[in-house]
Symmetry: C2
Subunit: 210 residues, 2 copies
């Protein structure tokens, strides 16, 4: 068991992995740290440090062995354990993510989705969809560990408390609300309002200079 | 016109603004940099530098005047210009964001949403919903500047090219695809796959130590 990795390293490992999965079909068996760095927009020193942390060192002339690297990243990010996920209020974005995992990933399984109204017959192909009133029961019954929560602000606190009681220990929260949950629950905050305002700011400045 | 602000400053200004809007109803007329710092999880020196960049300095004893601060942030982030936005494939998450802007913000207006299937009668209250086939025409007709794109990977490149031709200059992209668009288009990448993998990683580690 490796030690806990820094947040940024975990993010970059996830990105390296996706790049490598595409890269190995079209290019060579090796990749240089500066190639990875360019694609994820970091520097080569960061890449080398990240990879050293998971116990991989490259060949000075050839770079990193892609298959070895993929194996080590899978090990570091614990890809052998399949995390069961539910989406609560995600609509088409859920479909997009489900399609991505279906093609690229076996370590995440979208087990269920929940909506506020009447569940549509086939929101996501082959993934059951329930009304939000069944949340507590179905989360428990289906052993769901991680939930993506994209509900209006006034529901987010109550809803996430229900999730934690039902056994969820990881939450990716899109609602612009700070959640107060037990310390053993990992909450990742995804602040879409801030991202929208930032996009608008830089868009306006670039557009003026056009 | 102030100079262009750093990315992190823009993100934090957006967050300060939301905090101040809530804060002024329940607390005093002034706020200290260390209070803002604690809520947005940064340090007080960063807060003071951010606010200096937009031309606000606090009183050593009382802190920052909340109304003055709000005025300056609104000016810096150009809140007088209303950005017209469309959501493409966002479902309930779109509803959540629309509700937030409805209550807190006048600088962003969600003008339309687009879905792949038959448009539901009232996906977002009072916001028209169209089928994706009407994208080019409606984006142009409604003067939409910024789009949130949450569509499957295989559609994202083609769809964003259509958007740019129709006059869009800002894109918040949820699809795990690197877009190649003209330099005057501002693309903000929101990597949900990486965030999910990161959440799973830290969740598993915390849960074991429980």
């Amino acid at each position: 068991m490796l030690q806990q990795l820094p947040e940024k390293t975990v993010e970059r490992l996830s990105q390296y992995r996706r790049i490598l999965l595409n890269y190995r079909f079209v290019e060579h068996a090796y990749i240089y740290s500066h190639n990875l760095a360019r694609i994820v927009k970091t520097n080569a020193a960061n890449v080398r440090r990240d990879l050293m942390l998971i116990g991989v060192s490259g060949d000075f002339h050839k770079g990193y062995d892609i298959n070895e690297l993929l194996g080590k990243i899978n090990e570091a990010l614990d890809y052998s354990h399949v995390t069961r996920i539910a989406f609560i209020g995600m609509g088409e974005l859920g479909r997009s993510v489900a399609a991505h995992f279906g093609q690229n990933n076996t370590s995440m399984q979208i087990a269920a989705t929940f909506v506020f109204g009447k569940p549509p017959a086939n929101l996501l192909d082959g993934i059951p969809c329930f009304n939000i009133s069944e949340l507590q029961q179905m989360i428990r019954q289906m052993n769901i560990e991680l939930c993506v929560v994209a509900v209006p602000e006034n529901f987010a606190r109550e809803l996430t408390t229900i999730l934690v009681h039902a056994g969820v220990s990881g939450i990716l929260n899109f609602s612009p609300v700070q959640l107060q949950l037990p310390a053993w629950v990992h909450v990742e905050q995804f602040d879409i309002i801030t991202k929208l305002e930032k996009t608008a700011y830089f868009m306006k400045r670039k557009h003026r200079g056009k």
